[in-house]
Subunit: 229 residues, 2 copies
DNA sequence: TGAAATTTTAAATAAATCTTCATGACCAGT
DNA sequence: ACTGGTCATGAAGATTTATTTAAAATTTCA
């Protein structure tokens, strides 16, 4: 089911939110401060983030600005009633929805479901026939275009060919040797050592955090695997 | 590429919208009040208008009503969450899409692209048989005429044949080899090297800046692609 | 037929990409 | 913790491919 990240310093409130969301079948992770939240958002694949603006150390607004471009997922902003309206206004554009405390947890759940549905529709708008999609990565063989979270990413010839091979054969470990043979051609002479270079290049383009790859994993001593999460 | 007009009194929000749209290759003009927006909409040729309903002087709703009939382009209406839903409902008739603040700028971009594609398809339905239009380029197979932004452009035989092939098969990467075969004929002997020369000639006639082609893109190491948007 | 337009060829230039290699980090088993 | 093997990383040089230009060859049509 969908994974949700809550960035909220008030542990009591966070727990309450978590309980209600879990009762509704969501998988929930709570980060109690901005730094943890930022790190978590960038390394794990969440479908939605609930963030409190008034965080003690790092400002929730700053976090929002940092993540918004990178992640194409809905954000729900939570703020105390007393927050000045200027701040709220600035936030308006980065968030998909916002709620003022105190609020009814059931309303939160409803809004979460609403946003997830909305994004689902949005993503499908851009999806065409003949395309393969996993993990928010859409690859189109005909047009040779790649979308990552709805954003077009430019790929060089070899990068594209390798990614296509991976996505046509997901969840299988491929050795560098077979990757080379399948992409460069059976009878090509050449150094297998180029493969890792390309894997890294692709990771930089499709992974949230390429130093901790989740989509193209290294299987030590064997090869690489494109995961369907 | 496509020109977009934003009518929005909140300069901060307008700038953010502008930034995101420009990052996606759109040309954007911002009008900070209704009067300027109205004037701009009527004098320049925009492909899409984003309008805030709650404008201070002239009501966004009134502007919409004034332009709606005159311009056959998509409108995206933006409104604050506090607006009563009745008003939004009434607007639905005149607008093609609407969004309530707060919203995610990436979503705005997605909706803009979506509307432009929708209108593109709509326009093509009304086209005469044998006519194709993408990116402001209209090609008529029967009369062998080409219009670029309403202006007739003269094309030589081969230039026309290649452009026609491209526009009959948009969003697909074609190698020089296949272009040659499809245009010159399967069994024609000859040098593939002429194809790039023609691509350049066509670009000079249909692209705004042929050194940075947006319509006929080069897919390095593979071929060329005529983009629908 | 002969001038003008068009098409093709070819060569120089420019640009993007591929490969290699050196270095350091990481992993698994001892 | 040590060690031999494997992987990640970044950058430079080599290579491949595309663009551009101009001139030669061909076709068109008055």
């Amino acid at each position: 089911m969908d994974k949700i990240l809550i960035i909220e310093d008030d542990k009591q409130i966070a727990e309450l939110e978590k309980d209600f969301l879990e009762m509704n079948g969501f998988e929930v992770f709570v980060a109690n401060d901005g730094h943890k939240g930022l790190k978590e958002a960038m390394t794990e694949a969440y479908q939605l983030i609930i963030i409190d603006i008034m965080l003690p150390s790092v400002n929730g607004y700053d976090i929002l600005m940092m993540i918004r471009d990178k992640l194409n997922i809905p954000f729900i902003v939570v703020s105390a009633r007393s927050d000045d309206m200027d701040k709220i206004k600035g936030i308006e554009l980065g968030a998909d929805d916002y709620m003022t405390k105190p609020f009814n947890p059931n309303e939160l759940v409803a809004r979460v479901k609403n946003q997830l549905l909305r994004y689902d529709r949005l993503l499908n708008v851009n999806k065409q026939q003949g395309e393969i999609e996993f993990n928010g990565v859409i690859i189109n063989e005909e047009s040779r275009r790649v979308l990552v979270n709805g954003q077009e990413i430019t790929m060089t010839t070899t990068e594209f060919d390798i990614l296509l091979f991976f996505m046509k054969n997901p969840d299988i470990v491929h050795s560098k040797q077979t990757i080379f043979e399948r992409v460069w051609g059976e009878d090509e002479y050449g150094d297998i050592g180029t493969v890792p270079v390309y894997v890294q290049k692709i990771r930089k383009k499709i992974e949230k955090d390429y130093t901790h790859p989740k989509i193209i994993e290294t299987v030590w001593g064997v090869g690489y695997r494109f995961n369907r999460l």
